[in-house]
Symmetry: C2
Subunit: 456 residues, 2 copies
């Protein structure tokens, strides 16, 4: 056996990025403005103050600063787990017999098991700095909730999490993790909010969605003194914080002596995709590179590949600003796939604009294909991936097999957004043949989005 | 906020150790010989061939080679996750207000979540190399079984795991992890072996122990063609493979510019303790250093602090060689603590000899104290530790508070053997007040060990 070249690339602590990358500053076509839900006029930062920490409100609308400094307190916390390794997936390459070079950024080594901590720490820090004492949020699979629970504990904030009911039941361990860090966890829909009561009255067995959980978290924040709401994806400032992933990966690919031809990430609201893709995409925008970017979404919640580009709410009850996005409609109730983090009806505004401008691509992955890919990855690389990340792996395998068919060397980079050690019931179900694909027909989608209110 | 000094120390790939350290070669008083269970004569390597791969049998009895080369194939697999980080626990230090410097070696970042993979890969490799096709093993909490399942998959071996029944039920996710890697998992005691049937006939509700699971795995190996048995702890060759932990930590402590005054690890059979301690202990043996070594065992299974030093079997049915060890008796049935990996009646022969010679110390930790320590660690460092590792953390906290009381700076290094993300039912039980301490009285212990057969 020949000794292989280096497998894992890790940055020294002083090479961890000191600023996040704000892609909006480099976009020729900026995202359309978010609209105030009442006046339907473009939103100003001040409009967001009641809901978000001020600094986050400004980051959300910042169109001019290409780089935004990472506060020292956040950088100190990043050092607990960053840089995450960039890994050459020799095992997967061998299993596929592909000439492609496959790399993955391993965000699963974060102490809470996913990339979500990158933004959780930043948001908790800004809230604390502005004197906030309580925060609320929603969580789907629980990755975001787990991350924010630790971040809240680290910065001394009280946290209430609305966890989508289906995940609350499917993934009890994530619920326990949040409690261990000291957070309060409520299954959503709940009777604790107007939005929750309304939906439970109409449909007592409703198993929840991210859209509903967001409504509940917003409502609680609005009714609690000195309380802000924080969000784990979709919004621009969340993707901004996640760019630490791609900025590190850029340096690490340089250490490996390669540059990606394709960059892939799974897609729920867009934060792990944006975090990985945007730093590389900036070299496309400046004309220096010609990399492809592929967002891998579930076939059961295919807003990028089958949705419409419209103004829509980010939540089910309609509490959020109106966002210009690819959407399946804010009343869309996604099937109960195990990739709970991807069960969201819309895409962030930046990603939506980039897709409209054909600067990125999207692919939809069926649930069974995602788990098949995840198990191949587990057996060849030793890491059991989160059901969400399985979508990125499935898309990566498609690209690697295409390279094999074409006999082309190609460099593929994907983001392993998290591990699946707490999602083992999903693997159990897959292995015992109890999972299905939950595809959506175009007609169903058409019917659903037809109820969206048209704007001028 | 002042920028703190470096937090995590990681070795470049070419600094990962290329040989394991065999402490027996440096011990003045060698461990007493293992005895053949039939003849009661000292065991020769050949006596172990029916059960173990030959190379492992030789490693088990090797008293002369100080360093044993790590095969290239194993080193290649190590590169997938090693070096693991050495971390300065600033968060925990602050929470305790201690002048002590606390470092931990983070073995929880291994893809299966614990240090167990270090020996699993080595043992699977040697079996494969010698043409073995099937292997069997036991697992307590499931950390070893999970690690070996991946190792077996990586080297193309079929694996059957006997998992202690109480853990099989308490920790269903670890069972699923093993299945995802392709292993067969059986709750022990089972009806598939004579040893299992015997104990189930006597006590149909018996919830199992490591001792019983070992008997079952050995029996299956003996009755399966081309099959070997592999063990996750206790034996000398297992500790040998684990020394990669301490050898790395030694270099990493040097990077941090410190040397430990105390080295701490939790204690079940001794492999993570030995793996961490032996490389540092060699400098005590050569008279260059005077470090303290503390094994942290559960108060409910206290062989080091309350057991007797006798010849005893490693398993419940008496299939193994007789081992000279600190033991509570091979029929001892440990309480159902959540630290399943520490529920073993005896200690490895090397550790037993070292303790007898007062070259190491031991401390017993109550279950509630272990979880209290684990939660403090989780909230201050962000990592939820395995219930086993919580014992090391509790002992570390005792040392750090002593340093605070005495106003002494002291450098403490402990091994974080694994994360507890798959043990969340244990944290749930602790947080809801459903756990108890399960202490053992000296009288109970005396009564149990009195049944041990005395040897000349």
């Amino acid at each position: 056996m020949k000794t292989q070249a280096q497998k894992r690339f890790i940055l020294p602590e002083n090479e961890i990025p000191t600023a996040w990358y704000n892609i909006v500053a480099d976009m020729k076509n900026k995202p359309l403005p978010m609209l105030h839900p009442g006046t339907k006029k473009p939103l100003k930062a001040e409009d967001l103050y009641p809901l978000f920490a001020k600094e986050l409100a400004h980051q959300e609308l910042n169109e001019t600063d290409r780089f935004i400094e990472i506060p020292e307190e956040v950088r100190e916390m990043y050092k607990n787990y960053r840089s995450t390794p960039l890994v050459r997936a020799y095992g997967l390459e061998k299993a596929l017999g592909t000439p492609a070079h496959i790399y993955f950024k391993n965000e699963s080594v974060s102490p809470v098991g996913s990339h979500k901590l990158n933004s959780a720490l930043a948001q908790a820090y800004y809230c604390k700095k502005e004197g906030v004492t309580n925060i609320t949020t929603e969580t789907g699979a629980g990755q975001w909730g787990a991350a924010l629970s630790y971040a809240a504990s680290a910065f001394g904030l009280e946290l209430a999490v609305y966890m989508v009911k289906i995940s609350y039941e499917q993934k009890p361990y994530r619920r326990s993790i949040m409690k261990t860090f000291g957070a309060q966890v409520v299954a959503s829909p709940s009777m604790s909010t107007k939005a929750g009561r309304k939906i439970l009255t109409e449909n007592p067995n409703y198993q929840g969605s991210l859209g509903t959980a967001i409504s509940e978290a917003i409502e609680l924040a609005q009714q609690t003194p000195n309380c802000k709401y924080v969000l784990g994806s979709v919004l621009n400032h969340v993707s901004l914080h996640q760019t630490v992933i791609g900025l590190e990966a850029e340096k690490q690919m340089e250490m490996a002596g390669e540059y990606p031809d394709v960059v892939i990430a799974c897609f729920g609201g867009g934060s792990n995709f944006g975090g990985m893709a945007f730093p590389f995409l900036r070299h496309n925008l400046s004309g220096k590179k010609n990399t492809r970017f592929v967002a891998a979404e579930p076939a059961s919640c295919p807003k990028l590949t089958h949705g419409v580009f419209e103004y829509d709410f980010g939540d089910e009850a309609g509490y959020t600003p109106l966002l210009p996005m690819f959407t399946l409609g804010h009343n869309f109730s996604p099937a109960h796939i195990h990739a709970g983090g991807l069960r969201f009806h819309g895409a962030g505004t930046i990603v939506s604009q980039l897709l409209k401008d054909k600067l990125i691509e999207a692919v939809d992955i069926k649930q069974l294909d995602s788990f098949k890919a995840g198990i191949l990855f587990a057996q060849s690389e030793g890491i059991i991936p989160a059901p969400e990340s399985c979508h990125a792996i499935a898309a990566t395998i498609q690209e690697a097999l295409k390279a094999k068919e074409e006999g082309k060397q190609k460099t593929i980079l994907f983001n392993l957004s998290g591990h699946g050690l707490i999602d083992m019931t999903a693997y159990d179900a897959y292995l015992s043949g109890d999972l299905s694909n939950y595809e959506l027909s175009d007609e169903e989608i058409k019917k659903n989005v037809s109820t969206l209110e048209k704007l001028a």
